[in-house]
Symmetry: C2
Subunit: 165 residues, 2 copies
């Protein structure tokens, strides 16, 4: 019962950030997603692709299947923005955002509380025995703050648009 409650709390926190970020990306036009969040900084298209790629990688990390879009890794994880690597269109990235988060929601739904407390796939059984707090649910907590971190950046584009108008 308690484990179930923690998992619910962590999932609510996760879904809250996914929803806030998804809403923000939806309210910005393709043109606005090509603006840098700060002079010299990342563009919205990069932050969108980066969050899709990092969250997509939760699937194998949590033992929930293969990534839907492994091809995003090079442009959005391995390399920084404006590295010259060809990116999918913004329309495609918007669709991937929906797909990946729908797949994750579906897979999370099917996990038992006990599974969340198992080790994730970058750890050995010995690691987990020594550090039981480094489990699947701790990865989710960390990725939740990761969304918030980049959401805080992308929201600045709205400030810029307001200043320009």
């Amino acid at each position: 019962m308690e484990a179930q409650l923690f998992v619910k709390m962590a999932l609510i926190a996760w879904e809250g950030q996914v929803k806030r970020a998804g809403t923000l990306f939806n309210t910005l036009t393709d043109e606005q997603l090509l603006l840098e969040v700060t002079p010299g900084g990342n563009r919205g298209i990069y932050l969108l692709g980066h969050l899709v790629a990092v969250n997509d990688a939760l699937l194998p990390l949590l033992g929930l299947g293969e990534r839907l879009h492994p091809e995003l890794e090079n442009a959005f994880i391995t390399n920084p923005d404006k590295s010259g690597i060809i990116m999918p269109s913004i329309a495609e990235l918007r669709q991937y955002w929906s797909e990946v988060h729908a797949r994750l929601a579906d897979r999370f739904q099917s996990m038992t509380p006990e599974q969340w407390f198992q080790r994730h796939n970058s750890m050995t059984d010995e690691d987990l025995q020594k550090e039981p707090h480094r489990n699947k649910l701790s990865v989710l907590l960390s990725r939740t703050s990761h969304i918030a971190y980049h959401l805080g950046q992308e929201v600045l584009v709205k400030k810029q648009i307001a200043v320009q108008n």
Copy 2:
């Protein structure tokens, strides 16, 4: 046992963000904390004061005592940056950051896992019965992402400094 593990996971996530943000504020000079994170956006001094004020308010919200710096609310929570309200000096805010997070760490240390699952002080007993996931620990999860959100913004100042040099 499980409750203890989950509290530990949530505290590790919290401390991680507090540490990352504290390190960033420490590496920025007073002058750099007066830069806007994006044209027209908040300055570092505001984000520093805002995070101190919001996190200080965890003390009464979680039933852990009075705020150390209630005087920050007007300049850093109720009002936006550059509203003309007098702020403490950056040196004072840096000191408050340390004080507030040391006090929180100390109080968190003394809480039992059970206490974390009690209602926070903006809720009634009936609220908690209906929604047991809205407890003290859920507030901590939410404040952890709140730090990450503004950390993501303040870190952009480093990008600006790099562009200027």
